[in-house]
Symmetry: C2
Subunit: 361 residues, 2 copies
C-alpha cells in the first residue's frame, strides 16, 4: 500500500492506494468506530463489493446502513439526491454519522454532495471502484449532480476524510470503463507531466491487460499530480483549471448526446483531441505532439473525434458551462506534452474549425 497526502491544512487527508485496501479495517476504524455509517453504492457494485465492505466497516465498529441506487450517469440527479437525504432522515442519521461512497464517479459525486448538504455537512469516505474514480473524481472534494442544462451544475466542495483506492477491484471493471479511466490518466500525463506521459506511452499495453504494478503506478502518480494541484488551488481559482483539459469540449459533447451515451472519460478523450487540435491551430503546440496524444488515446480504444454534433451546438453548450467567465469561453490548451495553459476566448471561428477538423465522417 502507498499513501498520497492531499495537503489542505485542517482538511488534509490521505489517499490509500493498494491491492486489498478495501478490506483493511485499520484504514476505516479511526473514522467509523462507534458511528453510524451509510454506505451508498449502486446495483452493479453492490453484488461485487458491498458485503465485503459492510463486513469490514462492522468489524471496525460501525453500525452500517446501505443505500443502493441504479447504475449510470442518470442517477446523478435531484431525485437520487433527495432519495438519499430522505433515507438518512428516515434512519435518523445525526451529524455524527458518516457517509461512505462505494462506486465510481457518479456514486462518489452524488454521495459526497449528499454528505455536504445533509444537516449542513457530515463527513464522508471515498471507496472508488473504477479507474476513473480512483485517478480523478474521488480526489479533490468536488461533489455534485447534473442538470439537464449541464453536468455538475449543482454541487459543493466537500473533502473526504480519506480515499481508499483498492487497485484489485479494477479486475472486475468492464473494458470500456477501464478505457474511460485511462483517458483521465492520459490527461494527467499530457497536461501536467511529460515524464508520466512518456511512461504511459511505454506502458499502455500493461495497463490494458491490468498488470497490477502498472495500475498501481498509474493510480498513484495520477493522485500525486492531482493532489499537488488541489493543495495549491482547492476552489479552482487558478491552476486547478488545468485539470479540466479536454473537459470543456467533453462536457458539451456529453450534454448534446444526453448523459450516458458516452462514458465521461470517452467524452474527455474526444475533448482532449479537439483541444489539442485547437492548440495546434492557434500555433501553441507542435502538430507532432497532438498526434502523440491522439495516438495513445486510440491505442486505449478511446474516441478522438466529435460524434457528428454540429459545432455551433457545441459552442452554444460550452457558453452555458460554468467555466465561462462573463460570457467568454476559456479553454485549457497544450503548449507541449506535459504543459497546459488556460486560453480565454480564442475566437469562435477557430473553435468551430477545430471541432470540424475533429468531426468523424
Amino acid at each position: 500500500m502507498e499513501t498520497v497526502r492531499v495537503g489542505l491544512g485542517s482538511r488534509a487527508y490521505p489517499i490509500y492506494v493498494g491491492a486489498g485496501v478495501l478490506e483493511d479495517g485499520r484504514l476505516y476504524a479511526p473514522h467509523v468506530a462507534g458511528r453510524r455509517a451509510a454506505v451508498i453504492t449502486n446495483e452493479v457494485v453492490a453484488p461485487l463489493y458491498l458485503e465485503r465492505l459492510g463486513r469490514t466497516l462492522a468489524a471496525a465498529g460501525a453500525q452500517v446502513t446501505t443505500i443502493v441506487l441504479p447504475d449510470g450517469e442518470q442517477t446523478k440527479d435531484w431525485t437520487s439526491l433527495a432519495r438519499i437525504v430522505d433515507r438518512l432522515l428516515e434512519e435518523r442519521f445525526g451529524r455524527d454519522a458518516i457517509v461512505v461512497a462505494l462506486g465510481g464517479g457518479v456514486i462518489g459525486d452524488l454521495a459526497g454532495f449528499a454528505a455536504a448538504i445533509y444537516q449542513r455537512g457530515v463527513p464522508f469516505l471515498q471507496v472508488p471502484t473504477t479507474l476513473l474514480a480512483q485517478v480523478d473524481s474521488s480526489v479533490g472534494g468536488k461533489t455534485g449532480i447534473n442538470h439537464p442544462r449541464g453536468k455538475n451544475m449543482i454541487g459543493a466542495f466537500h473533502q473526504p476524510l480519506a480515499v481508499i483506492s483498492d487497485t484489485a477491484v479494477l479486475s472486475t471493471l468492464p473494458e470500456r470503463e477501464l478505457g474511460a479511466g485511462l483517458a483521465e490518466v492520459i490527461k494527467h500525463g499530457f497536461a501536467l507531466d511529460a515524464e508520466f506521459a512518456l511512461w504511459l506511452e511505454a506502458n499502455l499495453e500493461r495497463l490494458l491487460r491490468r498488470d497490477a504494478a502498472a495500475l498501481m503506478h498509474a493510480v498513484r502518480r495520477s493522485c500525486e499530480l492531482k493532489a499537488a494541484i488541489v493543495a495549491q488551488d482547492e476552489r479552482e481559482s487558478g491552476s486547478r483549471a488545468l485539470l479540466n483539459f479536454g473537459h470543456t469540449f467533453g462536457h458539451a459533447i456529453e450534454a448534446a448526446q444526453g448523459y450516458g451515451a458516452w462514458l465521461h472519460g470517452e467524452a474527455v478523450a474526444a475533448g482532449m483531441a479537439i483541444a489539442a487540435a485547437l492548440s495546434v491551430r492557434l500555433g501553441l503546440l507542435e502538430p507532432g505532439e497532438a498526434t502523440r496524444l491522439t495516438a495513445i488515446l486510440r491505442r486505449a480504444g478511446l474516441p478522438v473525434a466529435n460524434p457528428r454534433i454540429a459545432p455551433e451546438r457545441l459552442l452554444e453548450l460550452m457558453r452555458s458551462d460554468k467555466k465561462t467567465e462573463r460570457g467568454r469561453l476559456r479553454f485549457v490548451l497544450l503548449t507541449a506534452t506535459g504543459k497546459a495553459q488556460v486560453v480565454a476566448d480564442p475566437g469562435d471561428d477557430q473553435v468551430i474549425a477545430a471541432i470540424t477538423a475533429c468531426t468523424s465522417t
Copy 2:
C-alpha cells in the same frame, strides 16, 4: 450607519446597520460592479423594496435579474431551490455572478443555499428585511431548506460577502413579525449578555413602537453578540450551540404543527420558556430568572407555552433533530440571565415534566 465585522479570516465580512442602507450604492458596488446579480425575494417584499434595490444595484454597475417566490416557510423547500437553480441556468449565470437575498429568514436561508450549491458556490449578499433576519438568520452563514422530517435538515455553511441591514424597512413589518424577531433579540440577551437583557427589559416598549434608535441598538448589539460567537465557532462544534437556546423545543413545536402555523420566532419564544422551566427543574436556574424571561416574552406578545402538543411527540421529534448526538438529546439551558450552557441528556422524565408544566390549558 454602524458596521459590525464577522471575523472569519479570509471569509470575514461586514454587517452594515442603519436607516437607508438598502439604497446606499457604495455598499454594493465593490461586490456587484460589472457582474450579473440575481435578486431573490418574495411576493410580499417585492412590491415594497425590489424596485429600490434593483435601481441601486443597477446604479452600482450590476446587470439585474429578479426571482420572486411565494411568501412563507413552505417556500423553503426542494421545489423552490430547484426553481432558483433552473432559473439561474436558464439565464446562463456563471460562477462570476452574485446572488442577492432580499427578504426575511426564509429568503435568506433559501437564496444563500442556492448560492452555496449553484455551480459549487457563487457569492451572495444578504439584504434582510425582517427583524428576525437582521438580528439572527442573515448573520453566520447558515443556509438551508426544510424537510417534512425537520427544519433546516438540508443545507450548507456559506458566508455572505456582506449583510446590509436597513432598520428603516422595519417600519413596514407586520406586528407579528416584529414580535417574532424580538424573540431572537431576547434570546441574545438572556442566553449571552445580562446587560443587554436588562436593557431589553427597560426598552421593550420603545422597540414595540419601533423607535429608530432603540431598533438600531437592538440590531447592532444582537449582531455583535452573534458575530463574536460565529467567529469563534463557525461550524457549531462548540459555543455556537448556545445560540440554539429555545430552538430544540422550538423546532419540535414547528415540526409538530407543520411549518408556518407559528412563526419561527414564536416557536422559539415558547421553546425558551420551556427550556427555562427545564433549567429550573434541574436546579440550574433560580425560578425568578425564568419568570423574568417569560415576563418579557409575554410583554412582546409572544407565546410562552407548548400549544397542546403531546410531550411525548415533541420528545420524539427532538430525537430526530440534527443537534442530537448518538441518539442523546442536548439542550441549551440557562444557569443565570445572560449565561447559557449545553446539557446532555437531562432525562426524558424531566423533559416531559417541563413541557407538561408549560403546556397551555
